[in-house]
Amino acid sequence: MAKRVGIEVSIALAEAVKLANVDVIPAYPITPQTHIVEHLSEVVANGELDAEFVLVESEHGAMSCCCGSSAAGARTFTSSSAQGLLLMSEILFIPGPMRFPIVMAVVNRALSAPISIWNDHQDIMSQRDIGWIQTFADTGQEAFDLMLHAFRVAEDRRVSLPMIVNIDGFTLSHVVEAVELLSQEEVDQYLPPFKPRYRLDPRKPITMGPVGIPEIYSEAKVAHNEALKASKKVILQGWKEFADLFGRQYNPIETYRSEDAEVLLVTMGSISETAMTAIDTMRDKGQKAGLVKIRLWRPFPGPEFRKAAGKAKILAVVDRCLAPGAICGPVGAELRSLFYKVPGAPKIFNFIAGLGGRDVTVGRFEEMVDKALVFAKKRPKELYEVIGVREK
């Protein structure tokens, strides 16, 4: 039976990985890290989980080891953050086209310089195009549930792709809150054993990852992209079966009080919780504001987003990443493309908020909605604004 406990979100996520009965965990997280692999190293050392904990020499080595382990047919997990994720970067582009269903928890944090260990989405946005499936959790419960969903989807033979579950550093990863931990029996009902279609086996040799000469490279890249796009069906199915078994339904795009909203805030990650409180506050004042949360970031659920937000007049899109020299933030740019030349599309304004651990408060969300209303009447010079920056 599931058990409701007070637990640090990082530990709850690690418990989900343990319940997924992973085979290999290659890790050597550099600062800043979390308790995720620390806890997993303990459960492996205590004999609670029969897995290989491979202490590699760096995050670059961790992801390389993940590729080898997944190729050999082992259920493989690792976790990273910020500079560590960047140290993996060279290898992160490999498991997608190689169709290795590695599962990774990325604890989102800012990038140096200046040196920061605090939360924003610059790390994962810098790795946006690595070709992994990517989801975002808003709460500890979601972090736990999405982790199990990730193994289920990634390893499905129709998908066979790597998958990242993103959780916000500190503001989610280090918080103790109530999480309902599923039992081993319950997890086993949901998550079948990993049975790869192909694996490296000396008794049955195959070639993986030969050179992609110009005559085949485009086809290989397109095949990977098509697989990523097609994974949505399995992602949705995975969430539906999770809901059927455990009663919690997840959707690629979630809405809150959005039906008749004039302005919709668009968020991704744990600030969505605070945004819900902000929406309640604004609704109490008679303002027609609502919220759209992006849970599935890659593949981007375009039709679902258009359905959820297409009727609003104004979108106030919150990015947790400043893209230097760009026209706007990555989520802002995605949604501008989605609605480009769509008749009756909402006006889109982009706010960059919560960089490097700056608190995103209820008041900040109200400010963004107010500004979006002003911008809708008088178009601003820039397509985005960084919220709450001191100029003196």
């Binding site: 007070g6 918080v175 809150e177 209820v362």
Partner: protein, 182 residues
């Protein structure tokens, strides 16, 4: 919803106390969050930790700006840090102090409701160490009833194993000796 800020020094267990209160509340069926003040922590430097406790799901991840309850683990801290910063009008400050109420109010400029206990003496006598985090939980429970004693003791058992008896004894003695005024 009640919001709590704990003041301590790095190494005194403010974060542990926050986690213990939150898990005890969750065990009682409530909703709770506990989190540290995120950043590089150093032994001995002033630190804060936070708890939110509610009967309904908590939908905010803001920092705590307007605490209802402030708990100060270290008797010297109120001279260094304005512990009543942002305190709610009807909020309470819970102090580890051996001073009289009038002295405390004058020296630290506190005009809110107060709860006081000499946690240093209790911790030294019961635990044999001047670590006051679990002792001060007794004062918190007495002054606010934020969680029940039974749930709190269960949380201590889980956290400290064989060391929990002494911590529970320190907590119970602080519960008895805490005075609430004004």
């Amino acid at each position: 919803m009640k919001e709590v800020r704990l003041h301590g020094r790095g190494g005194q267990g403010a974060v542990t106390s926050a986690e213990l209160v939150a898990t005890a509340g969750i065990d009682e069926g409530k909703y709770a969050q506990a989190f540290p003040s995120f950043g590089p922590e150093r032994r001995g430097a002033p630190v804060t930790a936070f708890v939110r406790m509610s009967d309904t799901p908590i939908r905010t991840r803001e920092k705590v700006y307007r605490p209802d309850i402030v708990v100060v683990l270290d008797s010297a801290l109120p001279s260094l840090v304005k512990v009543s910063e942002g305190l709610h009008e009807d909020g309470i400050v819970i102090l580890n102090t051996s001073m009289k109420e009038s002295e405390v109010r004058e020296k630290f400029g506190l005009d809110s409701k107060l709860a006081m206990v000499d946690a240093n003496t209790i911790a030294r006598e019961v635990l044999g160490l001047p670590i006051t985090n679990t002792t001060m939980l007794g004062a918190l429970l007495k002054a606010t009833g934020i969680v029940g004693t039974e749930a709190m003791e269960d949380a201590l058992d889980r956290r400290f194993g064989r060391l929990s008896e002494k911590n529970k004894a320190a907590m119970r003695r602080a519960f008895e000796e805490t005075t609430v005024t004004g």
